[in-house]
Symmetry: C2
């Protein structure tokens, strides 16, 4: 508890990483949301948690509360879920379906990692680099500008960084997935590792869709406090830079150095001139809906 | 899928049994239900599934959807859940809490069994005895007669047969927990094992509380089709009778032989004179509320 995933050791040589996410209609998605995208996303958020733990996803269970037996809805939901599950060789091993007034989806996912190699939030050390995969802010931008198709895809069909998570075993000192926003999620690493950080805002990779809207305030808010991007945020010793650059090329996934861990507590977000850049708390999903 | 528990093998020598149950307010329990009992029951139904798989419970995750942050409610719910968890040495390893309009509880539980020794529904063979633990019908009786305290305890604080489940490894040929009613749950074993059965209704152990209500029809309906008893129903070769009697004494838990598996498909429920005893399908919990 306190990490994205709980880890348990069922037998010599292995750790099992387990995570549970609950999606409730009206809270995490709008009534009438596309069931295929919902099936994808419900699994994606769990696989993202496993990736942040450096675990190879293996199995999931699904608990589903439906208002009514709607074969078309269920078929589309299953299509979205299974397409992503197959891509990552994940088996649905159990579940429970019931009726109720509010559509609710709970997935529990578990993955494996060699014992002692799973990633946590607590291993960041002063002078470690801070890295982030892909680009940030797209999902939050899509909430404000649903007409931006690429950003909307980030929001509705996030791609969990499964391969990256597995490969970060032995490289990253700490990791988390960006589900609540960069500032908030980095805050979790800092708190658990009892360190601080300096981040250069200009270096933070921003979603390409921001180019089509000229709203610097929106951009800053989405990039620093927007959730739902499901990129990996991780720390690593400076000695790992070459290996991380090679990994980025191999996976075809940008990995960007955005700052450094420091001994002094607190998060210092600065611009190119070293001046503070304001960042709020996490994004309130409910308010955003 | 198809058994009470899914089984996965994370490493050489072990199987992991996993089960998920979802409890929704208004569907599985009444609004205003005692939170302590709810915490107990939410875990109990999952431990009962593990027991039916012959698995030793180890870990759970909890997803909880609450209408509001109510510290008193949450404290009582946690008390009920943790008291049972501690009794069985089960650790809560992860979870997710969210807000929403309908109180919803999802627990995923996993247990371990030596590889190849977990129990399933599919191993019953002709001439096997059919056994049931404890007594049946009490939980369903409590829905009709809430003033019966002992029966009410059966309904609200069921005791999962964890120790029995573990000890049935190597003894039972098939097992299931009685969650939907004797006839329905035995039907699952028969279907999965591709066999039939003859059950002597008079031999089925009935909850002691029936003595205080003189309603033979209610009794028959509760005993054969009432769910929520969470006793174990299992089959075993005749050669195991002596061992099962010894186990019953050791655990201080009645284990009663109620019939036999037969090659001919179908369930034949008979009275002392061999005449058919009618049995319906499962109990509709929602209708019962």
């Amino acid at each position: 508890v306190g990490d994205d995933c709980a880890r348990v050791a069922p037998a010599e040589g292995f750790e099992l990483a387990v995570t549970t996410d609950m999606l409730v209609e009206g809270r995490h998605f709008l009534p009438g949301a596309d069931p295929r995208a919902l099936g994808h996303k419900a699994l994606a958020v769990n696989l993202s948690d496993l990736a942040a733990a450096g675990a190879t996803p293996r199995w999931i269970t699904l608990a589903l509360c439906l208002r009514e037996a709607d074969a078309a809805w269920l078929g589309a939901f299953s299509d979205g879920l299974y397409a992503l599950a197959e891509r990552h060789d994940v088996d649905l091993v159990g579940g429970d379906t019931t009726r109720g007034p509010v559509l609710t989806i709970v997935i529990t996912a578990f993955g494996e990692a060699p014992a002692g190699q799973a990633l946590s939030r607590s291993g960041a050390r002063p002078e470690d680099d801070i890295w982030v995969s892909g680009a940030l802010g797209g999902a939050a931008l899509a909430l404000m500008h649903p007409e931006l198709e690429e950003a909307a895809r980030r929001l509705h069909e996030p791609q969990p960084r499964v391969a990256l998570g597995e490969r970060l075993r032995g490289i990253a000192s700490a990791a988390i997935d960006v589900s609540d926003g960069l500032a908030g999620d980095l805050g979790h690493i800092l708190e658990r590792s009892q360190v601080g950080a300096r981040v250069r805002y200009d270096d933070v990779p921003k979603d390409a869709s921001f180019a089509s809207v000229n709203e610097p305030e929106t951009e800053r808010r989405c990039v620093l406090s927007g959730g739902d991007d499901y990129e990996l945020l991780f720390t690593a010793e400076k000695a790992k830079r070459k290996g991380i650059a090679a990994l980025s090329r191999e996976l075809g996934l940008p990995l960007t150095k955005i700052g450094s861990i420091e001994a002094e507590a607190g998060l210092r977000m600065v611009d190119a001139a070293g001046r503070p850049v304001p960042f709020g708390g996490g994004f309130d999903h409910f308010a955003a809906l």
